[in-house]
Amino acid sequence: MSFVIGVDIGGTFTDVSVIDRSTQREVIAKSPTTPYDLMEGLLDGVTRAAQQFGLSLSELLGKAERFSHATTQTTNVMFTWQQGAVVGLLATRGFGDEILIMRARGRVAGLGLAERRHLRATDKPPQIVTRDRIVELAERVDRSGRIIEPLRREEVEAGVRRLLADGVTSFAVTLLWSHQCPSHEQLVREVILDLAPEAHVSLSSEISPVTGEYERTATTVVNAFVAPTLERYLKRLNERLIREGLRVPILIFQAGGGVSDIPSIQPVSTIESGPAGGLVAVQKLASAMKQERVIATDVGGTTFKVGLIVDGRWSMASETIINQYTLLSPMIDVVSIGAGGGSIAWEDDGRLRVGPESAGASPGPACYGWGGTRPTVTDADAMLGYLDPARFLEGRIQLRLDQAEAAVKEYIADPLFGGDVVAAAAGIRQVVDSQMGDLIRKATLERGYDPRKFVLAAYGGAGPVHAASYAKAAGVSRLVVPLSATAFSAYGVVIADTVRTVQRSISREAGRDNEVLAGSYDDVSRQAIAALNAQGIDTDSITVIRWADMRYERQLHDVRVHLYGDRTLNGTLVDDLTHAFTERYEVLFGKTARLKDVVPRILRIGVDAAASSGIAVRQETLPPALPQLAQPAHRRNVYWPETGGWINTAIYAGNEVSIGHDFVGPAIVEQLGTSVAIPPGAAAHVDQWRNLIIALDHAGEPNE
């Protein structure tokens, strides 16, 4: 017996997914996250999973051949501003303020349009480095990487001593154009480590070697801020797990969708890695199912997240905004809005509004009975019969329908629906579902795709309850709901590949020169492969995908294009990239946007080097017998807006559902912490990967 273990620590729950490689059996466990010491929740969750195999924690760990882990540690530091390091910044003379000016974007970066319009209420985020912890160094490098003013060691020493005296323990070093000439930054590191061997040093030329001093600085400073905390945590965790019997190195899951061993991770790239786990799982599932285009949707308590799989791959965001800081570390492109189970419904002068305010986990929806009095989406779900009041989260929470109804009545039904609480609850659902549908539509259309040509995967606590409705709003007619939907991110963490991304900026001139470009690709490939080799991975098992960020001259938005497979390099690299760019550009912006006689420019090139985890998606054989209708566990009344009324609906227990089962809507399949709604007119079956496949338009052919 050997096992692979994945742990995803989220804000509320720590999810664990464990697969027995010999039988392909997967178990999941959920344990409350323990913010004061994340390790406790982790150990508890893994222990619970071990028990399901009849093993102790040590027995399971001893038999683990892989242990991968997504942690919320760095995300917490960024969103609570606690536990971060005391950071000092060394910058080029004249430019120490760039991290404070934030390109003037910092006041509103990442905020929605409505928030941006409340100018009075906008502020820049808290400063990670205050001005008195920024030291400017007399030195200058120009755009070509030429040193026009050399850096003097004594000057660095004086600056570093000053910061050390001020209590700085983690140093960020960002000099202008250092990605073209890193020697000055390297000298600074040498001096810091001479004076303070224990100090943590983040160099921008290593963390984010690309043009754009603000983003490079922000990425480096954030790395410096979160790194010591993460490293302390991982050191403790590693020691503890070894003591408990783990014999393999811990792999850390990163927001770019790959794992990496502890010595080679960049802490900044673990921020917001949670949502990437779901995307990885969807991508693996999609490729097993031979689905080229999937919309991945994750509905939690407060946010609704959407990511896309196109041609079997996810795409990366060219920049990521974390708490108003713009970062350039690899991150899967996921968009979100503030809409989820906890979103509060409110009346706005005759309008029915839902969110973005959320009741969160405290006070929570009114039906939780934890003191919440305002109506939420979950309250509407409970009132309309989608959730079982007695069996929610295995009965750990008794849903109070009376309190849900009182909240909906007071705030929504009385002012807007003449006291009709059912119409009000159905209205709340429809409003939030249409907002989610709009985000799906926007996210796909903006990226140049038609949502109707996708299937939609739904997971997360409230996803399956709403998926049929928001999919319909977006024009999608076929749904995939994995039966492990509530711990789906952890599953993604288990099966994630080991990935190393290396990128670099390309000068205007180099971008036109095939040889120089090919040489640059060789360089970054070598670096990426060496990084994987250092983790004990053979070069033979590494796949390298080349990409480039390009744009038309003067445009400030990049388009990333990939060179998949073995497209030849000799003499046609620039042409290949230009061709790929033109194609992609037309998909994104239409033919009218294309300019004659204008050659796009290559800004950055990079490679994603990946070694497969070797863990295949579990596939079972469909039973030879004809599909059989599943047997409902019981029935209850559910309100279906599709037919405009209550229907005594068949309710199925998720753990009794198995491959080959067929369902006809209306039906509800209950799972740990959520329910899958199959509306009237829809049909569903369980496929050989244990997904519930729902065809919304039963009569029509599902879209491919």
Partner: protein, 749 residues
Amino acid sequence: MSDKIDPVLFEVVWHRLLDITEEMGIKYMRTSGSPILVGAYDASTGITLPDGKLVAMGPYISTQAHVLRLIVDSVIKQRMESPGINPGDMFICNDPYLGATHQPDVATVAPVHHSGALRAWVGSSGHWLDIGGSEPGGFNMTATSVFDEGLRLPPTKIVEGHEIREDIVDLIMAQVREPLAELDLRGQLVANEVGRNRLLEVADEVGPSVLDDVMRRGISHVAGRLRSRLRSLPDGLWREVQYLDHDGHKQNVRKIVCTLTKSGDHLTLDFAGSDAQVEGFANTAFGGLRAAVLSGVCIALGYDLTWNDGAADCVEIKAPRRTIVTAEYPTPVSMSTISAIIVTLNLVLVVLSRMLLASPRHHEQAMASWCATSLGVSMVGVNRDGTFTVAPEASHFAAGAGARSYADGVDTGGIIINTTANIPSIEATEDAYPLLYLFRRQLTDSGGAGRFRGGASGEVAIVPYESQGPLSTSFAGVGSLTPNAVGLAGGLPGASVRYLRFLDAARLDPESEILGLVGTLEQIGGKRTVGPLNSSKIEFGINTVEYHNWQGGGGFGDALDRDPAKVLTDVRTGLVSADEAFRTYGVVLTVGTTIELDGGGTEEHRQELRKQRLQRAVPFTDSHPLVLPESLTAQEPESGVEREQVNYWNIVAIDNAVNTMSCMRCGTVLGSATMDVRHGCVIEEVPAATIGPIRGEDYAEDYSKAGGVPIAIRSFYCPGCGRRLEADLVVPGEVGPSSVIFRGGVNTA
């Protein structure tokens, strides 16, 4: 609100409409390539009713969306007959006398026909990289009429039945020196195409009459919310004055006067008293004025609402013809957006903030002026590869934000007209243009002093680098003499604009020698000269260092009330100098290896400063006091309506029972409850250039020599304790801001 439509259906369709405008905006940005557009996001998009009434606007610059109503109106008036407005058409227009703000801001609108009728318009408007005319970028500093400026396009059909009129495109592009401006045009067409298609999908789905209901209700909902907000504010009259200190040709201070009347649920903004239109390009026509006013109203009062013409329904704009804010054909207006429009927008913000300060319920929303002017700076010449280049310098979009009633303004927080401000990175600029930056910093003492400090602005210094030929600088803007970013409730204005040139200050030849690399203004060597504003073709020689800074935000409240610990932090972080901490904030610091606060010394020094104010001050007499019109004074609140306390922020208490107004610091009675608080104060008037560094001192002397009257700060002190209750920016001897609040009370419902 009408109940014709089901609230759920409304919400579903409405959300879709908002998404459409946002998607249009994103498509527009991504397609168009110009750094002005994309770097500064100087654009917007919108959906309107068939008559042009704005339903929803996209992201970025609100003034760009507020023009759509007049543009559509002009298209309908001029093109309905010939060549006709048909399905699949689009019209282009940048005529400032027909609704556009200035020529570089081009709007393109598309009618949306469904089931045989015109149902709506979609439109996009944005700043093009170039619009022809005698100066690159469209600012002609020497213009005396519209004929000296860029291409003027009356409503012109550019897309006919879904086919782009390539002849019209060529006609336009033949006037424009920058071929990449075509991307700006294509971006607008793409945005409109996307918007129209999405809107038609909605019409297909819910039917055109539901779509129409939703659009109209979306406007009336905003109007309804705004009206109830207005009812919760006291009635009154507020007069505000602002200035344009350069008419395009010379330094010449002109006034913009706005009198706000708030009566019940309606606002009137009357610009009577504003100076006549000028010969130079600093004016705006009515379209720009309207866009500025509505943007100001949306920011100050509509902050939690959709921005659309629901606001216009509550606002009446009155203005005499042919003033500096209502210029008429053929007066030039090409600088309007960075002069008259943005100054007016900040004026409107300030006058509305004073209204908000009259009600404790609304104090929190008030803001002092943000950086009140903008700049148009570019370096023109030969790039390092020998090609012609126009390098826009847009760092000034990192402007200082106005202070709030509870917090400082945001440092380098962005420019107020742009909801998504953005400046280019240094490296991206150096990569694209033959320039090397010496520094870009937050500017010490640039935030207006106050109990809450205005946001700091910034400063930048640049040298030519690797240019293969001569460079010249073009520098357009106002606000060097006048610190336009005024404070509120005793707060002082932020820094004014300063443009300096240092000749023989650097030698940056990597092959031979590198001299003059410095990190601060003080370290720049060479011969210091003050650069002329609104000049083009200023030689930018290879040994010249060019420096400029822009306006900081206005302060809030008396600087002597600022928490000394905050002043200490500001000094430690370089945002306030030790000199200003002592002089303006009254804070005593001990400066050694570290900077520390002398608490006792500070208290003493502040007392002394207040005493000195009263010794210098004289009684105030207002030659033109505001008087409430009969219609306001006649209204008494309904009996039984609870009267709400009306204060002026937390500095002046107003007691209607005994009809007094008194200082909340010392209790001194300032006068009767029905007069302008200023009348009970003693005043001191000093040249603006003396209230702190970078407040116009580099320009004041020349202006005086040329016979101009230097602009002044008129401080109003409580005669009892010397607290500064107002600090108005005035021309000495002339009427300044004033206000009268109707004390009858407000409806608390």
